[in-house]
């Protein structure tokens, strides 16, 4: 009996069986659930082992890339100094609250007059569940997170020239699109037009799947009735007692979804892409709770109000020339063994930097996206009280493009600040060209087409157009496939004593995760170089 017994099934053996039987994707899913393969590039807290022997480093920029590097390199024994242009740390990790003043390029100054506890995150505002690095830093630094509602089925989708200009519930449109397309596919399946693609036996299964997927009735039709209403909602919801009988709703036609272009808000990646898949999170109290937490750890290393004007290197070290923006005068200089530069390429491309032609070409090759965010304070949370929209966002083809409902303070009796515009592309350039108060005015004007309560309830607002933020000159680095092929490797190399980090040096542009992963990758390579160099240095020192 013992001879007939197979050896105990090891985890590795089990995995190889799964892999053989089901292909590599099943293998990957199995390894993930068993905790062997990571779901992202992040491999847990960085371990910089070996003695850095007090090697000095200048970090340029106190955004998340710079702050992560400062934290980890000091821990590893480096002598760290950070130079930051702004008068606060955080970079694009930023929140605007009542009492804040923000002066953009051109000298336009806004005073944020939001009530206590209300805020706008002008930059990043959400953390996908698989952005493991930033989630881990939040955990390690004690930053409390709360759910961020990305998909709200009761929020609106809106086309100005369709449905009489009346906003439609996302729930209804997404159900109707799935229903109609499922009905079409069921029809051709039933007519045996899929013979080559789907076997006879599988056709039955496909029909059953389409019925469930699209909420089709027993005749494989998507039409007014119980099945569709249980997906898209009812004209009169089911109730209790004598008034309980629900009234089914009637789907809109497929042609209405298509010819109004409202399909673009339900049938694209806008809510479905990997980065938008639920759950997502946000820091309690504002996105800058993350940079504030870093500030408690490494704020003592940061010199604020420092405008870098030159980055020079020799074989033995770097010299950074900078101006104190509060007390202009003689340029100042700082020296170190190494420089980690996280300055956005829109700015860095204009700074005198002594790197090779390949890295310089890469620095010059990445344009920055235009984006605008506008926060609006209203006297009451009418989107919750009147429209039953709790968090999430509405989409529109108006120039404001999105309305984001505040995730904090839901059900509050007081005021609320919503994101009244989140704009990209040509519309964002046009918003940027308006004075801030005009941007706010336009956001109120357009938003009133979706929420007629706007004019009566509006109190004040702030508008951030990223091309006018003095420290950034744009929102994030836009890579084309061609530019990646030509320049990305050169951008990320160590050039003598200089290396770069930031979202622009990642494959997750615009996201804070990209900035952190870029920084961890850079300092890991730097540390290896330092340890190797330290060895050769001590060898040289020996006669």
């Amino acid at each position: 009996m013992s001879e007939a017994n197979p050896p105990p099934l090891t985890r590795r053996h089990l995995l190889s069986l799964i892999g053989t039987a089901a292909g590599s994707s099943a293998m990957y899913m199995a390894t993930s659930s068993l905790g062997l393969a990571a779901t992202s590039d992040y491999a847990g807290p960085i371990k910089l082992e070996g003695d850095a022997k007090g090697t000095s480093i200048l970090i340029l920029g106190a955004g998340l890339a710079g702050l992560v590097a400062a934290l980890e390199l000091r821990k590893a024994g480096y002598k760290v100094t950070v130079l930051e242009y702004n008068d606060k740390i955080g970079g694009r990790n930023w929140s605007l609250r009542g009492g804040d003043r923000y002066t953009e390029l051109g000298g336009f100054t806004q005073e944020c007059r939001f009530d206590k506890d209300l805020y706008l995150n002008p930059g990043p505002w959400r953390l996908p569940y698989h952005h493991n690095a930033i989630l881990d830093y939040c955990s390690r630094l004690g930053v409390a997170l709360e759910p961020f509602v990305q998909v709200n089925h009761n929020a609106y989708v809106h086309v100005s020239k369709g449905f009489g200009g009346k906003p439609q519930r996302y729930r209804e449109m997404v159900s109707d699109f799935a229903g109609h397309t499922s009905e079409l596919l069921a029809k051709v399946t039933g007519q045996n037009q899929l013979d080559e693609a789907v076997s006879k036996e599988d056709q039955e299964k496909l029909l059953a799947a389409l019925k469930g997927w699209g909420a089709l009735d027993k005749d494989y039709k998507y039409q007014a009735g119980t099945e569709a209403s249980e997906r898209r909602g009812w004209d009169k919801d089911p109730g209790g007692g004598l008034s309980a009988v629900p009234v089914p709703s009637t789907p809109v036609g497929l042609s209405d979804l298509l010819n109004t272009n409202i399909w673009q808000f339900v049938a694209t990646g806008i809510q479905n892409n990997y980065e938008m898949q639920t759950p997502l999170f946000q820091p309690v109290g504002g996105m800058d709770m993350i940079s504030r937490a870093f500030g408690r750890e490494v704020g003592d290393l940061v010199r604020l109000n420092s405008k870098v004007t030159a980055i020079h290197q020799t074989e033995s070290g770097v010299t950074i020339t900078y101006q104190d923006t509060k007390t202009p005068g003689q340029p100042l200089q700082a020296k170190a063994d190494w420089c980690l530069c996280t300055i956005p390429l829109s700015v860095l491309s204009q700074i005198d930097i002594s790197v090779g032609t390949a890295m310089k070409a890469a620095i010059d090759a990445v344009p920055y996206a235009s984006a605008t965010k506008i926060g609006l304070q209203f006297k009451r949370r009418f989107w919750e009280q009147d429209d039953r929209i709790y968090g999430g966002m509405s989409y529109t083809d108006l120039p404001i493009q999105q309305i984001g409902y505040p995730q904090h303070g839901i059900f509050g009796k007081g005021k609320g600040v919503l994101l009244g515009a989140y704009v990209w592309g040509p519309y964002s350039f046009e918003f940027a060209a308006l004075p801030p108060e005009e941007r706010v005015r336009k956001a109120v004007e357009y938003g009133a087409q979706i929420h007629p309560q706007y004019p009566a309830e509006f109190e004040n607002g702030v508008a951030v157009a990223w091309h006018r933020r003095p420290s950034n000159l744009g929102c994030f680095g836009v890579w084309t496939d061609e530019a990646r092929t030509q320049h990305y490797q050169d951008l990320c190399q160590i050039d003598g004593r200089i290396l770069l980090a930031g979202e622009h040096a990642s494959y997750i542009p615009a996201w804070q995760e990209g900035a952190i992963l870029s920084s961890l990758d850079a300092i890991t390579r730097l540390h290896q170089r330092v340890l190797a160099g330290a060895t050769s240095h001590s060898q040289r020192a020996t006669p």
Binding site: Y85, F429, E430, L473
Partner: protein, 147 residues
């Protein structure tokens, strides 16, 4: 197709320019919805995928001022947006055409957002305003050749 810069409506734009050029800094009191809105630049917010302003002045005011500022005075922060006023780099028209189309450093490429005529119009506007006085206007064909 689109009107050249000298046929734009200067009166319609005057109110906007008065607002935009009113001063280098405007304090942020943005709950004054009661005051009359300025005349919008025609074509602004016309399409999410491309600019629909016609004529150099309209394009400059509605698009370019976001960075290069009213009056072409430019702006300086951690980096800078160059002043276009009295800018000798505008002498060779091919240079601004190429920069608008293809971008350079902090200047994003805008070729996909503009027609050839729009680029010609705004380049001609820049080269004949803000203290620039170049007498050789460019055409849509010149722009097309630079794409």
């Amino acid at each position: 197709m689109t009107a050249p810069s000298n046929r734009t409506k200067p009166l319609a734009l005057a109110a906007v320019l008065a607002v935009l050029l009113g001063g280098p800094a405007s304090a942020g009191h943005m709950d004054t919805l009661g005051s009359p809105p300025p005349e919008p630049v025609p074509g602004t917010f016309g399409d999410p995928t491309h600019f629909t302003e016609a004529g150099g002045e309209a394009i400059y005011v509605s698009v370019c001022t976001g960075c290069h500022m009213p009056g072409g005075r430019g702006a300086i922060g951690a980096g800078a947006y160059p002043a276009l006023a009295k800018n000798p780099k505008l002498e060779a028209a091919g240079y601004p055409i190429a920069i608008v189309l293809h971008g350079q450093k902090a200047m994003p490429p805008l070729g996909d957002y503009f027609s050839d005529q729009q680029v010609a119009d705004v380049v001609n506007y820049l080269r004949s305003h803000f203290g620039n006085d170049y007498k050789d206007p460019v055409s849509a064909e010149d722009v097309k050749a630079s794409r």
